[in-house]
Subunit: 182 residues, 2 copies
């Protein structure tokens, strides 16, 4: 029943899951990674980088970020944008609230291009990449390098985190397709 609902619902990536954009939002640095599923298990990095919003106030930074993310989404048509879930346990409230402003305009940019947004809990990302929902930072870095066939970790860490998100999405979409018999 759940699978049937997924197939007839709005989960477009189940229908065309080959390319995904992982985004790690931030007002100072936003990391992104465009990954593509190649064959049955490996993923290739098509493009990755950071957006450093310019501007001397929140409004200008958000406008910059929104435009830059919209450009990435337009340049690399994807079936999904993958984000980390909003945390309800907030360690640094002000920082988290500003990050949420950034996340808001990123989600908007995806919606404006009709690209579905999927979000994943940190523990699910860790479990999907390493088999362990409490994996260490080093284990996660190793998994990202292995999955993408890279000799070293993408830098800065915002890009590596965006890669992890995109890998997680591709893996979960693949499992969902398998279960759905696609």
């Amino acid at each position: 029943m759940a699978l049937s609902a997924a197939r007839v619902g709005t989960v477009v990536p189940l229908l065309d899951p080959n390319r995904v954009i992982g985004i790690d939002p931030g007002l100072t640095v936003t990391g992104y990674a465009v990954l593509e599923r190649r064959g049955s298990s490996s993923a290739a990095m098509i493009e990755a980088g950071v957006i450093r919003p310019r501007g001397d106030d929140l409004a200008r930074k958000l406008a910059w970020l929104h435009k830059a993310v919209a450009d990435v989404i337009k340049s690399f048509p994807a079936s999904a944008v993958a984000l980390e879930q909003v945390h309800s346990r907030v360690a640094f409230p002000r920082t988290a609230l500003l990050m949420a402003h950034a996340r808001g305009v990123i989600v908007l940019a995806a919606a404006e291009r009709g690209v579905p947004v999927h979000d994943y809990a940190p523990s699910r990302i860790k479990k999907t990449l390493t088999g362990n929902g409490r994996a260490s930072k080093e284990q996660m870095q190793h998994a990202v390098m292995t999955e993408l066939g890279l000799g070293r970790l993408p830098e800065p860490h915002d890009v590596a985190d965006a890669c992890a998100l995109a890998i997680c999405h591709l893996a979960i979409a693949r499992i969902a397709r398998g279960l759905a018999g696609a």
Copy 2:
């Protein structure tokens, strides 16, 4: 020196402070109020209302909200958008983070139309309207009704809060103009 800096800086409302849009952001209900300074002290409500974003996920709600706020800003050209400052003391982290997504697309809509965003701490709003930074809800409601010459409080409370923000901005802009000798 500070005044001189303000006059040559980007504080456009000091130059044209007659109309302001106060906005109280929320993903379920966003209240807004377009106020205009009439004469030396009173303010008139030009338009006020609520936006209730439709959509079955965050992305659609944000797209709806962004469009609706952009329409208000386009329909009622104003010299400023007034918001409440981001709180660093977060009582309900998840709710606050979702509100910050909404705030992000509202700030973006203002930036896209070139309208400066001003934000005010709750204590400053209370002090400006009532003389008391710890005014009660009832005192604030009374101040809003008196300032706008209304027989009853605007409803829902999101609209009343948006009115209070706009009144606060007009009062502070007027004081700033007075100090600047305009």
